[in-house]
């Protein structure tokens, strides 16, 4: 599961059940959540239960999973319950059984079979006009807008970034500030730790982060969360290069179009035209990393193809004239010379340590270098010189003096037996971090299930 979906996940889990009910009424949302948010095994469970006429006894589901897959099973079931997709029902006289909850199951079935009258997969707009947008035009538009946003953030690092004719709307700036990706300092803005991490992410992850920020902000703008989310999921199911009609959109969604245009997620000729185009940023929203890799967000322009060469002596050559790319590179490399079409520099211990202290991880740096490797470099196997990769990791590790895990310490057990049972349970459900037999203490990342387990135990005992 990529970082971006994890983030959207946490947000979704926090929503109240009624919100889920309304969300799941849209087949496109059900499909997108199924596809993007669920772990693999959970998807198998959902599909197995989707067309079953009666609830599946808990014991049957347990028997279906291999004994060594228990942890995965529990994780999957837990998550499905938290997302209000699966519910365990107890009917008197019958064993406990799982069934899919209704708006979700019905919507997913509709999504698979088609039909209904929900228009949630977008109403295509037939343009006879000659000003149809080609896919390259859309890519170009999306790239320009998105780089504008990134450029605004990086602009604070001292590089003088020409905005390439993109003016950011006030809304975007407020959004970046409220997401604490940048901090306003009087007239200028300073990029934050989160902001640095954000910049080095994959485009898809960046878009999701941004959209979740947008969602969190939506309420303060009097927008309906469900409307916003449903629209985002719908965008993910649209076809690149086709115009879609605005006629079926709610007022909120029509307003959103303008904001999303600022990010380059949708394109519309003018705010009052009657159709819009989703760009690649939108149509890849519900695909995962794998899908993106094969249809990567690349434009013919030089600065999105690979351009970085890194040698075993830690020297970096970047064939780019884009100020944005140079500024990003400067986050973790010491740049020495700049030529009209290229910059040269070096990755040093100091530059990596500085990057780490700004909140950038070595993995982010490595993945950034890999994805932007020059075609000549990309032919190598592996792409980056192993010595450089290892050294970047080591430079980060030498500062890792401790490992902190937020969670809960369980202590004061009366007997060894009383200690062992919950400890083993915690280990099974995968939340145990540390334990000490002699002191009868153990540390877990989530306490809800363990606490429930202990309550059950004592209830039975007493």
């Amino acid at each position: 599961m990529s970082a971006s979906s994890l983030r959207s996940f946490e947000y979704l889990e926090g929503l109240p059940g009624t919100t889920f009910n309304r969300l799941y009424k849209q087949p496109s949302t059900a499909l997108a959540i199924f596809r993007r948010m669920l772990p693999h095994l959970a998807k198998s469970f959902v599909m197995a239960l989707l067309y079953i006429s009666h609830p599946m006894p808990v014991t049957d589901l347990e028997a279906w999973v291999r004994p060594d897959g228990r942890r995965e099973r529990d994780n999957a079931v837990n998550l499905l319950e938290r997302l209000h997709i699966l519910a365990a029902a107890t009917n008197p006289g019958k064993p406990r059984a799982y069934a899919l909850t209704n708006p979700f199951a019905a919507s997913l079935r509709l999504a698979l079979t088609g039909g209904g009258n929900h228009h949630s997969f977008g109403v295509p707009y037939s343009t006879s006009e000659e000003d149809t947008m080609s896919i390259t035009d859309l890519d170009e538009f999306a790239r320009r807008q998105w780089e504008g946003v990134l450029g605004y953030m990086v602009g604070s690092t001292g590089m003088n970034i020409a905005s390439e004719g993109v003016t950011l709307s006030q809304g975007v700036k407020i959004l970046l500030a409220s997401g604490r990706l940048v901090e306003a300092r009087g007239k200028t803005v300073d990029i934050t730790k989160d902001g640095f991490a954000f910049i080095l992410q994959e485009v898809n992850a960046q878009v999701w982060t941004m959209l979740i920020l947008y969602l969190q902000n939506a309420e303060s703008l009097n927008m309906d969360e469900v409307d916003v989310l449903a629209f985002l999921f719908m965008l993910g199911s649209l076809e690149l290069g086709l115009p879609y009609s605005k006629a079926n959109l709610t007022q909120t969604q029509a307003n959103m179009l303008e904001d999303l245009g600022d990010f380059g997620i949708v394109y519309q000729a003018s705010p009052d035209s009657s159709y819009f185009y989703p760009t690649r940023l939108a149509t890849t929203l519900t695909s995962d990393a794998g899908g993106l890799r094969s249809s990567s967000f690349a434009s013919p322009a030089d600065n999105n193809r690979g351009f970085i060469v890194i040698e075993t002596n830690y020297r970096v050559y970047a064939y780019t004239s884009s100020n944005l790319q140079i500024a990003i590179l400067q986050l973790f490399a010491r740049l020495i010379t700049r030529y009209p079409n290229m910059v040269a520099g070096k990755v040093t211990r100091e530059s990596i340590r500085r990057a780490v202290s700004m909140g950038i991880t070595s993995d982010q740096i490595i993945s950034y270098l890999t994805t932007h490797a020059h075609p000549q470099m990309a032919k190598n196997q592996p792409v980056l010189p192993p010595t450089v990769v290892d050294q970047i990791r080591l430079w980060q590790l030498e500062g890792d003096r401790m490992k902190a895990t937020v969670g809960f310490l369980f202590k004061d057990f009366n007997s060894q037996a009383e200690f062992q049972a919950p400890c083993r349970y915690a280990e099974e459900i995968g939340v145990l971090v540390w334990k000490h037999e002699g002191q009868r203490k153990f540390f877990v990342t989530r306490h809800e299930q363990v606490a429930a387990y202990l309550r059950n135990k004592s209830g039975k005992g007493g």
Partner: protein
């Protein structure tokens, strides 16, 4: 009766732990529970401050090799 305490589990080398203990000695406002020589539980709210103090302490005691260098 078992109890659950909220906190942050910190795993580190004994040497780092010694520094943390030293930082804590002044006011005893960081550590919730001292578990063994490589693990302890600290207050969640104090984690960031503890990190900053530790960083400061380390930079005072450690000499970083100079690599500005050869180009």
């Amino acid at each position: 009766m078992p109890k659950a305490v909220k906190g942050v589990l910190v795993e580190c080398d004994p040497s780092i732990k010694a520094i943390i203990l030293k930082i804590d000695q002044a006011k005893h406002d960081y550590i919730v529970e001292d578990l063994d020589d490589q693990t302890l539980v600290v207050k969640e709210s104090q984690l960031q401050r503890l990190k900053a103090r530790l960083e400061e302490e380390l930079s005072n005691t450690q000499q970083m090799p100079d690599d500005s260098a050869s180009d």
